[in-house]
């Protein structure tokens, strides 16, 4: 069977984009096998099919894996794997209700974003405030401009991620 790997980076808040990507791949005859390492997506050749992919972020679920997966299986979702805190599920569109997702109200979607915030964003903010920003200031003070621009670039990148995440949260909240 033919397989292929792709390299894709979806940042913390881009799980919807990732879901769509996996669905498109399956529609074009590439079934998702796993994601590993640093954004390496593994696929195997298959008969093209419309399959819905969904990501959940629930630490409590990962800690109580058997019961968590059981509930999803009962509801017809196949559990695939966990990756950096996200759990991956899929269900053929032919067996699903129209536009079925694993969340059925905006409240629970918001709660998932809150869990992502606590699990992924908050530790990053702490990391930045305690390490990156003091380092940046330090580099500028010592006229180490190359290093400073490196820290500066990373800081800008992450600030952009934080802002995008916040925008997504408030867009959902305002709906």
């Amino acid at each position: 069977m033919e397989t292929k790997k792709t390299f894709k980076i979806f940042t913390i808040y881009e799980y919807e984009k990732e879901q769509n990507y996996l669905r498109k791949m399956h529609q074009s005859g590439w079934k998702f096998v796993k994601v590993s390492g640093f954004g390496i997506y593994h696929f195997e050749e298959c008969v093209p099919e419309d399959v819905i992919y969904q990501l959940d972020y629930n630490r409590d679920g990962i800690e109580h894996k058997a019961e968590y997966v059981r509930l999803f299986n009962d509801c017809g979702w196949e559990y695939l794997q966990d990756y950096v805190g996200y759990s991956y599920f899929r269900k053929p569109a032919s067996q699903a209700e129209e536009t079925e997702e694993i969340f059925c109200d905006d409240d629970s979607k918001l709660q998932m974003l809150e869990r992502v915030y606590k699990g992924r964003i908050l530790p990053l903010i702490v990391l930045f405030s305690c390490i990156f920003i003091p380092q940046l200031v330090n580099c500028i003070a010592h006229k180490a401009y190359i290093l400073a621009s490196l820290f500066g670039a990373v800081t800008c990148l992450y600030v952009a991620i934080f802002i995008m995440f916040a925008l997504q949260y408030y867009r959902l909240k305002g709906r």
Binding site: E67, D74, C75, D107, M112
Partner: protein, 104 residues
């Protein structure tokens, strides 16, 4: 009842309402999904991401309690606090309905 519970659950989502209502009798997440589908003739279909998140949150908030596990399914039932919150919500909905009847 503390302010947090009031803020989060009064008023509550349709999902939360049906979960509390179903847990008057011990049941597990998937059991609730099926029961609600039956009760509403398929109009309300609860989904596992929402269900798992709501059950953990309600357990943490003390509205429901875990009783036992059966075949990898966690069985819960409503607590006194949960019943109290459900009653407040029921009263609110009854008032909505009454007012609507009078105005229409």
């Amino acid at each position: 009842m503390n302010a947090h519970i009031k803020k989060v659950y009064v008023p509550m989502t349709e999902t939360a309402f049906y979960i509390l209502l179903c847990l008057k009798k011990p049941n597990h997440g998937y059991g609730i999904v099926q029961r609600v589908e039956q009760m509403t003739d398929g109009a309300v279909r609860l989904t596992p991401g929402t269900m798992y998140g709501s059950l953990s949150k309600m357990e943490k908030d003390g509205l429901i309690q875990f009783i036992r596990e059966e075949d990898k399914r966690k069985i819960y039932k409503i607590t006194d606090l949960g019943s109290e919150v459900l009653q407040i919500e029921l009263n609110r909905i009854a008032r909505l309905y009454r007012n609507a009847q009078e105005e229409m």
